[in-house]
Homo-oligomer: 475 residues x 2
Amino acid sequence: MKLYEKVALVLRDNIESGLFVVGDKLPSIRQLVAEHKVSISTVQQAYHQLEIESLIEARPKSGYFVCYQRSASVLPATSRPAQRPIEVSQWQQVLEVLLSKEGVDTIQLQHAMPNMTESTLKPLLKKMSDLMRHQVALSLPYGDIKGALVLREQIAQLATNSGCVLHPDDLVITSGCQEGLSVCLRAVTNPGDIIAVESPSFYGSMQAIQAANLKAIEIPTNAETGLSLAALELALEQWPIKAILVTPTCNNPMGYCMPEADKKRLYQLAQSYDICIIEDDIYGDISYQLPRPKTIKSFDEDGRVLLCSSFSKTVAPGIRVGWIAPGRYRDKVTHVKYVSSSMCPTLPQLAIADFIHSGRYNKHTRRVRLLYKQGRDHLIQCIKKYFPQDTRISFPQGGYILWVELNKHYDVVKLAAQCKQGEVSIAPGTLFSATGKYRNCMRLNFSEQTEVERERGIRHLAHYIKKQSIVEGHH
Amino acid sequence: MKLYEKVALVLRDNIESGLFVVGDKLPSIRQLVAEHKVSISTVQQAYHQLEIESLIEARPKSGYFVCYQRSASVLPATSRPAQRPIEVSQWQQVLEVLLSKEGVDTIQLQHAMPNMTESTLKPLLKKMSDLMRHQVALSLPYGDIKGALVLREQIAQLATNSGCVLHPDDLVITSGCQEGLSVCLRAVTNPGDIIAVESPSFYGSMQAIQAANLKAIEIPTNAETGLSLAALELALEQWPIKAILVTPTCNNPMGYCMPEADKKRLYQLAQSYDICIIEDDIYGDISYQLPRPKTIKSFDEDGRVLLCSSFSKTVAPGIRVGWIAPGRYRDKVTHVKYVSSSMCPTLPQLAIADFIHSGRYNKHTRRVRLLYKQGRDHLIQCIKKYFPQDTRISFPQGGYILWVELNKHYDVVKLAAQCKQGEVSIAPGTLFSATGKYRNCMRLNFSEQTEVERERGIRHLAHYIKKQSIVEGHH
Ligand SMILES: Cc1ncc(COP(=O)(O)O)c(C=O)c1O
Ligand SMILES: Cc1ncc(COP(=O)(O)O)c(C=O)c1O
């Protein structure tokens, strides 16, 4: 163990044991230098480590503060899916979620919808309205098949934040990230091919795998570090996997960020097996950490990473503006995008380009990022307060959704059906597995509700959970 | 020959020989009754027949007038494609067209873009702008996965004009007709399946066939009546065809309307071979005939017809609003649409719904339909005036594109390349074949130009054609 790791360990223990609680100021660097008899840079490294773990945060000119009391929440165990290629099922369940209409009184914890009420979004709405009034003629003809150049320029610019050097010509605009994923899958595979995915995994990408006549192989995934590289390597040795589809940054549904070193290793694995990676970065820009984590794409030397994203989670999903950085698959991706839906509407693209160019996109994401982080801490507090003791909770590093694993006796599908009649909606874990696993899990969002609503929602849920445990007779 | 057919023949001869020319008033019914010694209803039937042939038109309270001097233009011969399943090629050529940027001075005869300058379109633009100002919040969340209900209601209503009885639940909104075609193909096939298509055929649907890992079998097609049913039947006997994809009403690129009886027979053929029909009706609402022709879908008893359309050709392509009436394939189509791009933006759907509901869509199509018909007659005049004597021209019954077949020695691909440097852009015939046939053909549009521009464009073209014939030494 290195010196800074020792110092970090002591501090972590102090936080996890409750010696320091949320909001507490930690000892100054000078104090720790004296106490541990180490150098200033060692203490700085220790604090940096704890920052990465989101245990503490630096406040300019005031020092380090505890930002989360991690002690009592246990992470979900690394998943253990069936590691063989399978046909994705679950469509009926996904459809039910898509068609579900919530009552006005329902506390919505089900959908991954961003907060769209902040005033930092207003300039975008104004721009859309202005464009409609003064340049409505632009909305009539077919636009550029690869998307509006001004938007591709802005996205290329943004991508530098995640360590990517992209040229506007390297980008293809899509109708949201869903089209991006679907197009990339079809562009790099042939029917029958096998795609490696995280488990649990976003249901939209799994359904796209199914619709493209592909098979999924679910790889064990850790709630803190993501896809298990060891398990992936085993699978790569055993099966002719054609591509890896991952959401490594602020993952849906677990919220983890795969460590940078693992991203790099994942890329190298793809290189040595000569396969490609489809990287879904849809939540990347609302990581709680600044500068935001690097993408796998940032390590891409030979164009084998196809990066997909959209403004659905950072801005608003109804805008339907996404993009692909397809690397060496550009021509094929352009083809499949064209047959998929021809070009995308122009005005929303211009509005978003302006939103980015004016610096307001960054301002908006900086704003909501803070809200989401507070939301996470609050939701975790609520769950710990009301849910059974043995509940496990993921610890998101960005975005606004987290993963809850109940004791394996619970049936969350039933729970979701019970809740639907009433006050709260949730996404059962089975949606996120190709085969209906994770029946004792659920995904909850913490973007939209007030704290009062959120607590009430969780109380309702806890009530149904308790009822289930009584009826079923466990505990 | 029936009596009315004899009367019609005499009249047709008189028109085709130039005795009556465009704009001339024809004899009154009473005169003809006296002249031919037949009943009133026989004369009415004869006139009706000539109306169907678009030789004459009835003007309320004034009688019948010659509306086109058909005599000298010969239709393209029935096509003779290779009648075996093939992989669609030609993508590079399609891409070139999609990426081509025309100079401001170029006379655009290449793209199938509607006239978007008429004042009858203004209410739609105003509505879009109003919605953006007053209901912009509706543009933010995910919308209904099947599309906005108000729009589906309006489309169901419109469909009665083409003889269809549809319920809003029978419709799925798409990002244009391209997404509709692509989704339908994927919903009803497995990789490797064979799709029967008209020849020539819209390149977007052929590329969709290619991207869905399907094969196309091109069926001989008549420039006046469409897909040859005899040839189709032969192909159905010989090959395991999975679906028929046709644009039978105001076809792209030829402009024909398949006669109603043939549509019905086509449907019966699909029934007896138990396969489905994907019917592209994108130009159907701007047929020159009122009421507009029935769709094949209108004969559908067992849900085997998937009707696709959009507002791209009738209103404006940049709006990107299309729809599918998927019949019995509704669930599969909903699935593939969801993975394809999730839901469509809401506001354009609301604007279009309002445009239809207020009667303004009908007003607009009535207006542009007249313009297009005039455009057709003018373009044909120009071609006859400037192009070589042996040129064949299709005779569109709706829409704003037609098909020109030059003597087989000409190379229109070369011609298109020569024109591109200069004054006029055209779509070479090879785009509309799976294998690069129709090298002596081109598609021209007659929607956007003034008569002066159109004539200049055709003169330029004629100039290049002449140059080619001199260089190549034919004629
Ligand atoms: C990880 C992930 N990828 C893709 C999507 C689809 O995004 P879009 O709405 O931009 O199509 C979602 C939306 O839920 C998502 O969570
Ligand atoms: C026959 C036909 N079908 C479909 C399309 C695609 O239409 P959309 O722009 O609505 O996707 C076109 C456009 O050129 C077309 O001509």
